[in-house]
């Protein structure tokens, strides 16, 4: 899972994948997302839920499969377009490198609670005189 984009329906089934994910996610088309990303549900599902409920784009950072992953969820009709981008990898080589990378990751996660992206305003506001 490096940079991946896909679309899930209202039951979290994968219904579409981007070109970069053809070899990784495509075999899971029609399956629920959690089959492809086991144990990601507790972290990722709240982002999907919030995007559905608010009908607005949600951005967050989670830890999954040894790295922080930037998550962007955009409502598209009845579905959600999901973009996942790995950011900081755990460095497992030694206990020292592991501890240092874990500290960076924890700081990243603390700094990136879910953020709701406001929709663009219908018209640009006029500058105040």
């Amino acid at each position: 899972m490096t940079g991946q984009g896909f679309v899930v329906d209202r039951d979290d089934r994968i219904v579409q994948v981007d070109d970069a994910s053809r070899t990784t996610i495509a075999p899971y088309l029609g399956h629920v997302l959690w089959t492809y990303l086991p144990e990601a549900r507790p972290q990722l599902a709240p982002c999907l839920e919030e995007a559905r409920e608010s009908d607005e784009a949600i951005e967050s950072t989670i830890f999954y499969a040894g790295a922080t992953v930037d998550v962007r969820v955009v409502p598209v009709g009845a579905c959600l377009a999901v973009q996942l981008e790995r950011r900081t990898e755990l460095d497992l080589r030694t206990l020292e490198t592991l501890a240092a990378s874990l500290r960076s990751i924890e700081a990243e996660l603390a700094a990136r609670a879910p953020v709701r992206r406001d929709r663009p305003a219908p018209a640009s506001p006029q500058a105040l005189p």
């Binding site: 086991p38 507790p42 972290q43 830890f63 040894g66 755990l90 030694t94 490198t97």
Partner: protein, 137 residues
């Protein structure tokens, strides 16, 4: 020639720590580095393994220790013989990096395992010393 349990991964190193032989279990990770210095190909491994390799090489005695490296805690045994040093390792635990909870729990387990093995080795060293002292009386 290697002195090893059949299923355990092992590598045989020459006097300059170049890989001269690997078991099938070690082949996937180490096999491609045959003829190369083992420590050069695993960044960060030198300070963790070199002191033990040097002791085994200098004393020509078996050296045992537990070590963390690349997500695993393993019990390592270095056996000096005519062909060089045979390094045998038995994986004890592996970090679970799928989720943060899994990582924390498996890291705790890994550190506990390391401490327990160090304590056990320390007790064995004390016992051996006592045997030497008592035998010398």
């Amino acid at each position: 020639m290697a002195v090893a349990v059949e299923a355990a991964p092992y590598v045989v190193l020459d006097d300059e720590y170049r890989v001269v032989e690997t078991s099938w279990a070690a082949d996937a990770g180490v096999g491609p580095h045959c003829g190369e210095n083992l420590l050069d190909y695993f960044p960060g491994s030198r300070p963790l393994f070199l002191p033990y390799l040097e002791v085994a090489q200098r004393t020509r005695r078996i050296v045992e220790f537990a070590q963390y490296f690349e997500g695993h805690v393993a019990e390592v045994r270095i056996v000096p013989d005519a062909s060089g040093l045979t390094l045998v390792w038995e994986p004890l635990c592996t970090l679970d990096v799928l989720t943060m909870d899994g990582l924390r729990e498996s890291l705790r387990h890994a550190l506990d395992t390391l401490r327990a093995r160090e304590d056990a080795l320390h007790r064995e060293v004390v016992r051996s010393s006592l045997r030497v002292v008592e035998g010398g009386r």
